[in-house]
C-alpha cells in the first residue's frame, strides 16, 4: 500500500525524490493501474506527476507534443490529435478509465495488453524523458524505463490506421494492430497480442521484416502469418490468431496505402 505520497512541482524535485526512495518508490501518473487490483503496486512511496504541469497537448514545429499525464479522454477530445491515436485511446473501453488513465501510463505500465501502443509505434512516437533524453518508443519498451515527460508524434498527419479485435466490447483484445505510411512512403506495422494472457507483460512488436517486403494481398498475408508467433489462450487458438492477424493487417496496409495516396 502507498504510505507516502509526494507531489513534486518540478522534474528535478521528482528525480531527487526517486533517488532518495529508490526501490520503494514509483512514478504515479493517475493511479488507474497502480491502484487497480490486477496491477496494484507493491511500492510504498508514490511520486505523483500531477503538479508537474505535464498535461498539455500542443503543436511544436509540426510535431504533436502530448504531456505525459494527459488522460486518454483528453487526447480523444483534443482537436490536434491524429485520428488513429484517438481511435487507439478509445480502445480502452471504459470512459471512466480513459478519464483517469494517462498516456505515459499506457506506455510504461506492465499490462496484459497495450492497445494504445501499436498506434504510437506506427506513428513513430518519440518519448522525451527526464534527464533531457529522447528515445523512440520501441527503444523505451526494450530498455530500462525512465520518467516519461512527453510523447512526441513527429508526423501527426501521416496516414495511420489501427484496429483491435475483441469478442466483447470490453473484453480482452485478441490482437491490436496499427499501420502507418510515413512521408517518405515507408510502411510501419505494429502489433500487440502475441503474449500470454495473465502474465501482465504486453510485448507490442513491429513487423519490420514484413514492412520491407512491400507485398500486397495474399502474399502479404502469408508473410505476416510467417512472421508472427501467437500463443493459444482463451482468446483463440494459434491457427485462428495467425489467420485473423494476417488478413486484418493485410487489409490495414492496403487501406493505409490508399489513405496515404489520397493525402
Amino acid at each position: 500500500m502507498i504510505e507516502h505520497y509526494f507531489r513534486p512541482k518540478t522534474v528535478s524535485e521528482a528525480l531527487q525524490l526517486m533517488d532518495k526512495h529508490q526501490a520503494n518508490a514509483t512514478w504515479f501518473g493517475s493511479g488507474s493501474k497502480l491502484n487497480a487490483t490486477p496491477t496494484k503496486t507493491v511500492k510504498t512511496v508514490a511520486i505523483s506527476l500531477s503538479d508537474m504541469k505535464l498535461n498539455q497537448i500542443e503543436q511544436v514545429q509540426g510535431e504533436l507534443h502530448i504531456g505525459a499525464t494527459c488522460s486518454l479522454q483528453s487526447i480523444i477530445d483534443h482537436e490536434l490529435t491524429p485520428d488513429a491515436l484517438k481511435q487507439a485511446a478509445a480502445f480502452v473501453y471504459s470512459r471512466h478509465v480513459r478519464n483517469q488513465a494517462s498516456i505515459a501510463g499506457e506506455i510504461a505500465a506492465m499490462q496484459d495488453e497495450a492497445v494504445v501502443v501499436p498506434a504510437l509505434i506506427a506513428l513513430n512516437a518519440q518519448l522525451q524523458l527526464a534527464g533531457d533524453l529522447t528515445v523512440g518508443i520501441e527503444e523505451y519498451l526494450s530498455s530500462d524505463r525512465g520518467l516519461i515527460l512527453k510523447v512526441i508524434i513527429p508526423e501527426p498527419k501521416c496516414a495511420c490506421l489501427t484496429h483491435t479485435l475483441r469478442r466483447s466490447a470490453a473484453g480482452h483484445a485478441v490482437f491490436t494492430a496499427a499501420v502507418a505510411v510515413d512521408a517518405a512512403g515507408n510502411t510501419i506495422i505494429a502489433l500487440d497480442g502475441m503474449n500470454t494472457l495473465g502474465e501482465r507483460q504486453a510485448k507490442p512488436i513491429r513487423l519490420t521484416d514484413v514492412e520491407k517486403l512491400n507485398l500486397t494481398e495474399e502474399a502479404l498475408e502469408q508473410a505476416i502469418s510467417k512472421s508472427i508467433f501467437p500463443v493459444e489462450d482463451i482468446r483463440g487458438s494459434v491457427a485462428y490468431k495467425r489467420y485473423i492477424c494476417s488478413i486484418v493487417i493485410s487489409d490495414l496496409v492496403a487501406e493505409c496505402k490508399q489513405l496515404a495516396g489520397r493525402a
Binding site: M1, I2, E3, H4, Y5, G31, S32, N35, A36, T37, P38, K40, A46, S48, S50, Q73, Y93, S94, R95, H96, V97, N99, Q100, R167, S168, A169, A170, G171, H172, L197, G198, D233, I234, G236, S237, A239, Y240, Y243, I244, I247, V248
Partner: protein, 956 residues
C-alpha cells in the same frame, strides 16, 4: 493523514491512510452509491464518482489523490423527496430493477447531459461504457437519456414507454413506478452491505487451488495466533452435517452431498478454511499463515471423462437414503471412504455416485419404433453448451449477528425460508431461533437461490457470538458460486416430408460439477421446457447428470430450458433445411396451441410427477409468430455486402409460472387505523418488481390507491411462508396469495361497511378510492378501521391467503434474430433481435419490458461472449468480468425490441403469467440458426465465436 476536500458541496476533512481505497472510504462515510462490484478491477463502474467534474472509478483512487479535490457522488443528485431529472426519467421509463448500479448510471447520465444535452446513440454508448449493468440489458437507457434530454427543454414532458393492457382493470396492466425504485436510486441503505456495522467481523476463505485433491495436512495454529483472529473454521470444527447448497423445497430433489468443510477438494475454490477476523487485513494476514498440503488427484472436467469406466470417483462417501433405499445400497457402499463424510439421498432421484451420476431420470410416451417408422426423414445430432455465470452486480453477501439467543441473518437471497431451514439444520437448532431478513437484492438470476455463504456466516456467529459478514469477491463468484450447467444433448428427430414431426428422442447429459444441487431439476427442465413446444405422440428422453471437478453449477434463469431448447430448435432447423421447408413454417406446423394437453409433461416431474396431464390454458404463439415474422421481414430478400452475409433465425420458447403441487405461497395483511394497508408477503422481490406486483394486485382488489398499501416481504419473522423467488413463481404464486388475501380482506371490509350502512352485504360494493358504497350512502375505509379498532368494534381487520395449485400457467414467446456474418473474418454482428413474449396480462408493462431486455441480453451474452474456460489442468482462467467477457452497452443488438403479446390465463392473477425467466430461453438457437442462414455453418457447440465460424468455413 488528514485529507481535505469538498464532498457533495461541503468541505470535508478525513482522517485515513494515504493509500486508502476511496471506494471503501466513501462507502464507509455512508455514501452508499459508491459500491463495489469488481474489487478494484475498474470494469463494473459501480463505484463511479466525479472528481473535479470528471467521472472516475473510486476504487482506482487512493485517498491522497483527493487532497483539495471536489468530489461528487450520486447522493448529490436530487434532494430529499425530490428526485433529479435523470433519476425521475429512470423511474418513468421503468429501467430500475435490482438497482445496485443505478445510482452510478444516474450520475453518468447526468454527466453526459451536462456535456451534450442531446446526445446521439454513439455518444450515449460512450458515456455508459464505464458501467456494467446486468439486469436491464441497457436498451431502455436510450429512452432514459431521450426523456431526460427532452425534459431539459420541457420539464413537464411526459411519454408512455410501454403499452397498457386490460381496459377493465384500473391498476393491473397499467404502467407505474416501481415502488422501491426511488429508494435505490437515492442510494438509501437497502442492501446487505449497507447494514454492516463497523464492528462486524469478516469471513475470508482459504480455497483449494486444485480441482481435485485431498487435504493431507492442515495447520491453522499460526493463523489462529494472529491478534484479531476470532476463529478459524475447518473440517475439524464444523458441523458434521450433509446438506445440499440448493435452496429448494424440502425434501430436496438433490443429493445432500456437501459438508461445510471436508477433507476432499472437489473444485478450484472449494473450501479449505474460513478465517473470521476483526478486519479484512487481519483475515488476509491469517490466510497467508495457514499451512496446507494436498494430495492432488486427477480431475474430471467433462461429461465424457465422468462417464468413462475408469473415471476417478468424485463422491465416494457412504450413501444413505431417507426413503426408497435401493436394494444394492450395501454393494454401492462396499468401497466407500468415510473420510469424505456421507452422502444422503432424500428419495430416489437416480443418484449413482460411484458412476459419477448425481441424478438421472427417464420419461416416455407413445411408440418410438412406430414414430420413427412413420418418418420420411430421420436425423440425429449432438449439441453442446458451456458453463456461464449469472453475474449479479452485487456479489453474494450475508451479515449475521445474535439477538439474545436468536441468530439474525441479513441476506441477499432468493429463498429466505429455505435459508432458514438449512441454517437451522446445519446449526442444529430449531427454526424459531433463526431469523432471515432478505434485503434488496442486487441481482440474482438463480445464483442466489443457493446457500453459498450463509452456512459459514451463521456458524461463525453462532459459535462466537460476534457479528460477522461474508461478502464474495468477484473472483469467488466465478470459482465457487453456482453457474449454468454444462450440457451435451443428443436428439434424434423423425419427420414426414411435409415437416410433421413423428418422433423425438432426447438424451440429455449434464455436468453438475462438484456438488449435485439442482442436479435432477435443472437438467430435467431441458426436455420439460422444450419438448412440449412441439407436442408429439412418440417421445423418449433420458436425463443423466454427472459429477465432475469443474466449478459449481446450480440454478440459473431458464433452468435447463435454454439447453433443451437449443438442441430441439436447432435439430428442427437442420431437418427443415434437409426437407426444403422454411424453418418458421415448420415451427408453425408443429408448435403447441392453446387448449392442448401436454402429454410429455405428464411424464416429467421436479422430484414428483404432476397429478394430471398439464394443459395449455393460454398461448399467444399464433399472434407472436405473425408479428415477429412481419417485424423482421422474414420473407424479404437478405443482403450481401462484400464479405458480410445476412441471415435470420427464430426460436419459440416457454417456461412455467411456478411448480404446481410443490410450491406454495402465503400472504397476510392488516388494515391500519386509517384504512390503509400493511401487506406481509412471503415473496422475495429480487429486483424483478414483485413487491410492486403485489401492491398492484392488492390495490386492484381493494379499489384503493397503491400509495395506501405498504409491502413488507421476504422476512421469515414478519411475513408468512413462501417458497422463494425461483421457477418463475413470483407473479403467479406470491401474486395469487396476495390476491386471495386481498379478497379475504375485501369480504371483511364489505361486511363491516354493510353493517355500518345498515344494508345487506350483497347490496354494497367497494368503490375507488377506498369506499364501501351502498344504496343509502357510503363509508370510507378510515371510518371502518376506526370502528373496527374501537371498544365496540370487530377487531383490527386481518386477512390472509395461501396459494397452491395443480395447474400450470405457461408463458410463451419467440426470439427473432438477424445477424451479419463476415465470411472472411468470422465476425458476427447481431443487427436485430426481437423478443416477443406472452406473459398473459402484463401486470406492470414497462417493468415487464425491462425484464425481457435483461433476460435477452444475458442470453445473448451467453451465446456470443461469455464462457467459463479452464486450462488443461482444470484451473479456471476466467476469473474477472473482463476476461470472462461480460457484455457492455456496445454489445447489445443494434435493433433491439421487446414486445408484449397478451393472453388471458385462468391460473394467474388477473390473467398474468411469469415474465422474468422465459426471456433467456431462445437467443442461442435463434442466433445460431441465423448464423447458418448467413454462412451455411451449423454451430452445434454453444457459444458461437468467429473462430468456430472460420473453422466451419474451412478457413483454419
Amino acid at each position: 493523514m488528514t485529507i481535505s476536500f469538498i464532498l457533495n458541496g461541503r468541505e470535508q476533512q478525513l482522517n485515513c491512510a494515504i493509500g486508502a481505497n476511496m471506494q471503501q472510504v466513501l462507502h464507509g462515510l455512508g455514501l452508499h452509491s459508491v459500491r463495489n462490484s469488481d474489487d478494484g478491477f475498474g470494469f463494473a463502474g459501480s463505484d463511479v464518482i466525479r472528481v473535479n467534474g470528471t467521472l472516475v472509478n473510486a476504487s482506482l483512487l487512493i485517498a491522497a489523490q483527493l487532497e483539495g479535490a471536489e468530489v461528487q457522488t450520486a447522493e448529490s443528485l436530487g434532494t430529499w423527496q425530490q428526485l433529479s431529472l435523470v433519476q425521475q426519467a429512470m423511474i418513468d421509463v421503468g429501467v430500475v430493477q435490482s438497482g445496485y448500479n443505478d445510482p452510478a448510471m444516474a450520475l453518468v447520465i447526468t454527466d453526459l447531459l451536462e456535456r451534450i444535452p442531446q446526445p446521439n446513440r454513439e455518444q450515449i454508448n460512450d458515456a455508459l461504457s464505464g458501467v456494467f449493468h446486468r439486469d436491464a440489458g441497457y436498451q431502455q437507457f436510450y429512452d432514459v437519456v431521450a426523456l431526460a434530454s427532452k425534459r431539459l427543454q420541457d420539464p413537464l414532458y411526459q411519454q408512455q414507454y410501454a403499452p397498457e393492457f386490460r381496459d377493465d382493470l384500473a391498476i393491473v396492466g397499467k404502467n407505474c413506478a416501481k415502488i422501491d425504485a426511488a429508494k435505490m436510486l437515492r442510494a438509501q441503505p437497502c442492501y446487505v452491505e449497507d447494514r454492516i456495522p463497523a464492528n462486524a467481523c469478516v469471513v475470508k476463505m482459504l480455497r483449494s487451488p486444485h480441482p481435485h485433491a485431498w487435504i493431507k495436512h492442515l495447520d491453522v495454529s499460526k493463523a489462529e495466533a494472529v491478534a484479531g483472529v476470532v476463529t478459524i473454521i475447518t473440517h475439524k470444527n464444523c458441523p458434521d452435517i450433509s446438506y445440499t447448497p440448493g435452496g429448494q423445497s424440502a425434501p430436496e430433489p438433490s443429493p445432500l452431498d456437501r459438508r461445510m468443510f471436508g477433507l476432499k477438494m472437489r473444485h478450484v475454490g472449494d473450501r479449505v478454511a474460513a478465517v473470521v477476523a476483526e478486519s479484512v487485513e487481519i483475515a488476509e494476514q491469517a490466510l497467508a499463515l495457514i499451512e496446507v498440503e494436498y494430495d492432488v488427484l486427477q480431475p474430471v472436467m467433462d461429461i465424457d471423462q465422468a462417464l468413462a469406466v475408469d473415471a476417478p470417483i468424485i463422491h465416494n462417501e457412504p450413501i444413505e437414503y431417507r426413503c426408497g433405499e435401493p436394494a444394492d445400497l450395501a454393494e454401492q457402499n462396499l468401497n466407500a471412504d468415510p473420510r469424505e463424510g456421507k452422502l444422503i439421498v432424500n428419495f430416489p432421484i437416480g443418484c449413482f455416485p460411484r458412476k459419477n451420476i448425481a441424478a438421472s431420470v427417464r420419461g416416455h410416451i407413445g411408440d418410438m419404433e412406430q414414430g420413427f417408422a412413420d418418418a420420411d426423414v430421420i436425423i440425429e445430432r449432438t449439441y453442446e453448451s458451456k458453463q456461464a455465470q449469472q453475474l449479479p452486480v452485487e456479489t453474494h453477501i450475508c451479515y449475521s449477528y445474535m439477538d439474545d439467543d436468536r441468530l439474525v441473518l441479513h441476506d441477499s437471497t432468493q429463498v429466505p425460508w429455505h435459508v432458514r431451514r438449512q441454517v437451522a439444520n446445519i446449526l442444529g437448532v430449531k427454526q424459531n431461533k433463526v431469523h432471515i431478513v432478505k434485503e434488496r437484492v442486487g441481482g440474482g438470476y438463480g445464483s442466489k437461490q443457493d446457500i453459498l455463504l450463509e452456512d459459514v456466516c451463521a456458524w461463525a456467529t453462532w459459535t462466537t457470538g460476534r457479528p460477522v459478514y461474508f461478502h464474495h469477491t468477484r473472483e469467488e463468484e466465478f470459482i465457487c458460486n453456482s453457474s449454468r450447467h454444462v450440457a451435451k444433448v443428443t436428439v434424434k428427430l423423425g419427420a414426414k416430408k411435409d415437416g410433421t414431426i413423428t418422433a423425438i428422442d432426447m438424451d440429455f447429459k449434464a455436468n453438475t460439477g462438484p456438488y449435485g444441487n439442482h442436479a435432477l431439476t435443472v437438467p430435467c427442465n431441458g426436455p420439460a421446457l422444450s419438448l412440449p413446444l412441439y407436442p408429439c405422440d412418440n417421445v423418449d428422453f433420458r436425463v443423466t447428470t454427472y459429477y465432475s471437478n469443474i466449478c459449481p453449477t446450480g440454478a440459473y434463469q431458464g433452468y435447463g430450458a435454454p439447453k433443451g431448447n437449443f438442441a430441439l430448435t436447432m435439430i428442427m432447423a437442420e431437418l427443415a433445411e434437409q426437407l426444403g421447408i422454411d424453418h418458421l413454417d415448420m415451427v408453425e406446423k408443429n408448435r403447441v396451441v392453446e387448449g392442448q394437453e401436454l402429454k410429455i409433461l405428464g411424464a416429467i416431474g421436479e422430484g414428483k410427477a404432476p397429478t394430471s396431464v398439464p394443459k395449455v390454458h393460454s398461448c399467444a404463439l399464433e399472434p407472436i409468430l405473425k408479428i415477429g415474422r412481419d417485424m423482421i421481414e422474414w420473407d424479404s430478400p437478405k443482403t450481401q455486402d462484400g464479405d458480410w452475409a445476412t441471415g435470420r433465425g427464430v426460436a419459440i420458447i416457454q417456461q412455467k409460472s411456478g411448480i404446481p403441487d410443490i410450491d406454495q405461497a402465503n400472504c397476510s395483511m392488516q388494515m391500519a387505523s386509517d384504512g390503509t394497508f400493511i401487506v406481509h408477503s412471503g415473496g422475495a422481490d429480487i429486483g424483478t418488481g414483485l413487491d410492486t406486483v403485489i401492491n398492484k394486485l392488492v390495490a386492484e382488489v381493494l379499489c384503493c390507491p397503491m400509495s395506501d398499501i405498504t409491502i413488507h416481504s421476504g422476512d421469515t419473522d414478519h411475513t408468512p411462508f413462501d417458497k422463494g423467488a425461483y421457477a418463475s413463481s413470483g407473479t403467479c404464486f406470491s401474486g395469487n396469495a396476495a390476491k386471495i388475501a386481498a379478497e379475504a380482506m375485501q369480504a371483511k371490509i364489505l361486511a363491516c361497511g354493510a353493517e355500518m350502512l345498515g344494508e345487506p352485504v350483497d347490496q354494497v360494493k367497494l368503490v375507488a378510492p377506498g369506499v364501501v358504497k351502498g344504496l343509502s350512502g357510503q363509508v370510507g375505509y378510515g371510518e371502518i378501521a376506526h370502528k373496527a379498532e374501537s371498544g365496540t368494534g370487530w377487531g383490527q381487520l386481518l386477512a390472509s391467503g395461501c396459494y397452491t395449485t395443480s395447474e400450470f400457467a405457461f408463458p410463451y414467446g419467440a426470439n427473432f434474430a438477424e445477424v451479419a456474418v463476415n465470411r472472411r473474418t468470422g465476425e458476427i454482428k447481431l443487427n436485430k433481435f426481437y423478443a416477443l413474449l406472452d406473459c398473459g396480462t402484463p401486470v406492470n408493462p414497462d417493468l415487464a419490458l425491462g425484464q425481457i431486455y435483461g433476460a435477452s441480453m444475458r442470453a445473448i451474452g451467453h451465446s456470443l461472449f461469455e464462457e467459463i474456460i479452464y486450462n488443461e489442468q482444470g484451473i479456471p482462467q476466467t476469473r474477472d468480468l473482463k476476461t470472462y467477457g461480460a457484455p457492455m452497452i456496445d454489445d447489445i443488438p443494434f435493433d433491439f425490441k421487446a414486445v408484449l403479446v397478451p393472453s388471458d390465463d385462468p391460473v394467474g392473477p388477473y390473467g398474468a403469467k411469469s415474465i422474468s425467466e422465459i426471456g433467456v430461453n431462445g437467443a442461442a438457437p435463434a442466433i445460431a440458426s441465423a448464423i447458418h442462414d448467413a454462412c451455411g455453418v451449423w454451430l452445434r457447440d454453444w457459444h458461437f465465436t468467429p473462430e468456430k465460424i472460420l473453422a466451419g468455413l474451412n478457413k483454419l
